[in-house]
């Protein structure tokens, strides 16, 4: 309870109850808060727990009329089936995993380079089109992919027909779209980091005789790196979870399916195999969970930008 009285946690409610409420009512109040907190925790965690628990349950328990909270006899059969079996006939799980990873990492890398350059320009220079550029970023960030998907699909299809370069039915097209989709928000996130690098540092380094590249790599990069990591993880999560572009672009080319698309396909085909579906969902979720823990703080400030300060 000592944490409550710490000055940083002081809220009007605390102080009020401390000042005039009797001890019992204060305790009741605290108990109520704890209870509400526990309810929120359960509501948030339970579906995730249920996904994992189902993935470990043998088929007999999944189909049982009286579901049990814990797997009675935990089994790895579903994970084994997902990983070593075939979610889609003829293609192994690792192929889908590799597809997802390739397209995600490649788009993150391309996005990092493009957005770092743009962020430097926006943070360090004033130029005529600067405000217009920022406005374009903000608007593009808002127009949903669901609205643009038909036009983008037509473009890529026509480009493919005109040049013979395959854009649809493999990873090329989705890689390009994923890179573009994350750019607006990563540029806005990085911009703050670049602006925060004091110019005095650069000057000092130059006086010591450092060249352009040295200054870029030794001064700017280390200071901007945390932002670059956060922005990259944000782009990673966006690309890893993306569904509608993969669905439209990949069509029947199952060899190139990303994980979310594979899951949707498998669910459509074997909709009653809940053990395997939940095991595959768990595998899809794990990488995101890991990365999410790193960027959680930055996600909030990145999305709400200036609205939360301090």
């Amino acid at each position: 309870m000592s944490a409550v009285t710490a000055p940083t946690k002081g809220t009007p409610a605390h102080r009020r109850s401390r000042a005039r409420g009797p001890l019992l009512s204060k305790r009741l109040r605290m108990a109520g808060l704890y209870l509400a907190g526990a309810a929120v925790f359960l509501f948030s965690v339970f579906p995730v727990y249920w996904m994992v628990a189902t993935a470990f349950k043998p088929v007999s328990e999944i189909f049982s009329g009286t579901p049990s909270l814990l797997p009675g006899t935990p089994t790895l059969e579903h994970f084994d089936r997902v990983i070593n079996g075939e979610l889609i006939p003829g293609v192994s799980f690792w192929r889908f995993f590799a597809n997802s990873l390739t397209v995600t990492l490649a788009s993150v890398l391309m996005g990092a380079v493009l957005s770092l350059l743009a962020a430097i320009a926006v943070a360090r220079f004033r130029f005529r089109l600067r405000t217009a550029f920022i406005m374009v970023l903000l608007v593009i960030q808002m127009v949903p992919m669901e609205a643009m998907i038909i036009s983008i699909f037509i473009n890529f299809r026509q480009l493919q027909d005109a040049t013979g370069v395959q854009m649809l039915g493999n990873l090329t097209g989705i890689l390009i779209v994923y890179t573009a989709v994350s750019l607006p928000i990563t540029i806005m996130m990085l911009r703050g980091f670049v602006a925060a690098v004091p110019k005095e540092l650069e000057e000092a380094a130059a006086i010591d005789g450092a060249g352009n590249w040295t200054i870029f790599w030794r001064i700017l990069m280390p200071l901007v790196a945390p932002g670059l990591v956060a922005a990259s993880i944000f782009a990673f999560i966006t690309a890893w979870n993306e569904f509608i572009v993969a669905l439209t672009f990949l069509g029947r080319s199952t060899d190139y399916y990303t994980l979310p698309l594979t899951l949707s396909y498998y669910f459509g085909r074997y909709g009653t195999e809940w053990g395997s579906i939940m095991a595959a969902s768990t595998l899809l979720t794990i990488p995101v969970m890991i990365f999410f823990l790193f960027v959680q703080r930055r996600m909030v400030s990145g999305l709400t930008m200036g609205a939360v300060k301090g």
Partner: protein, 336 residues
Amino acid sequence: MAQTAEVTTPADPAPGPGRDPKAGRADHSLLRTILKKTPPYALIAPALIFLAVILLWPIAQMVWNSLHGYTIRHLSPAGPDPEWNDFEHYIRLLSDPGFWSILRNTVLVCVLMVGITMVLGTLVGILLHKLPQWFSTVVAVGMMLAWATPAMSASLVFRWLFLPGRGLVNHVLESLPDWLVGSGWTDYNWFLEPLSLFSVLITVIVWQSFPFVAVSVLAGLKSIPNELYEAARMDGAGGWRSFWNITLPMLRPLFSLILVLQIIWDLRVFTQLYVLANSFQNKDVYLLSYYIYQQGFNASPPNYGMGSAIAVVMTVMILIVTAYYLRIMIRQGETR
């Protein structure tokens, strides 16, 4: 604390119209001297060209497509060119009661999602602020799990939770006393009727999006200086009054921003509906983005023109909300 540092930074008289200390200061920066030979346009060019070609141009094309007869026939290299069709798509849409019902459902579902998410998120944010640090962290980490779950996984889990016959929700409802919830839940199918399907959809979306609101509100609450509350208490203001007169006004910019983001995210819901509805047969459960996809890629033959017309309607709705968003961003100086 952090913002005082920023505010007191003596900004050089900036030549531009903006007085943003971040950018204004950089004027004599060495980086600028270094990069003098690469003007800023060269730096934004790659990103700008990329965005313009991949995302900006298609918005214009969307409008063009919607005004032309454009089906899969026109897409094949040997096919005819798309032909102008005198606003036929829009006329057909506006005179189709089915479209109006989809539009109404989209708005209603969006309002419910956003409303519930905002109220729940705000309450949880306040709760987190009042709980002791350790417990607040525990709850926040739990919420992160819901937030981080990919849409596809979340949709599948909720489909499984609400599954007729073996789903946990139906089982629990069945085991509750009949006078409370009625009977016959075991085989109840949530995914057939719009009302029940949208209830599940709203549940998934709220589950995934309230943590963002809660964590943002918590960050906002932490940024309000305690002195304000103390002064209010001196003046005899109770908790409720200081909430209305201090907390809400201080958090207003934050609230408007979250509200806009939530509206835009919830208007476009697709993946969750795709999994929950699991087919395109029941037109009663369509939402706008689902209808766009259905017209463009599921109808036979795919009708790109009609799909684009629906997309234009959705984009207009989004742009209206975006205009409000831009106003907030400009006011906060984000565009400077």
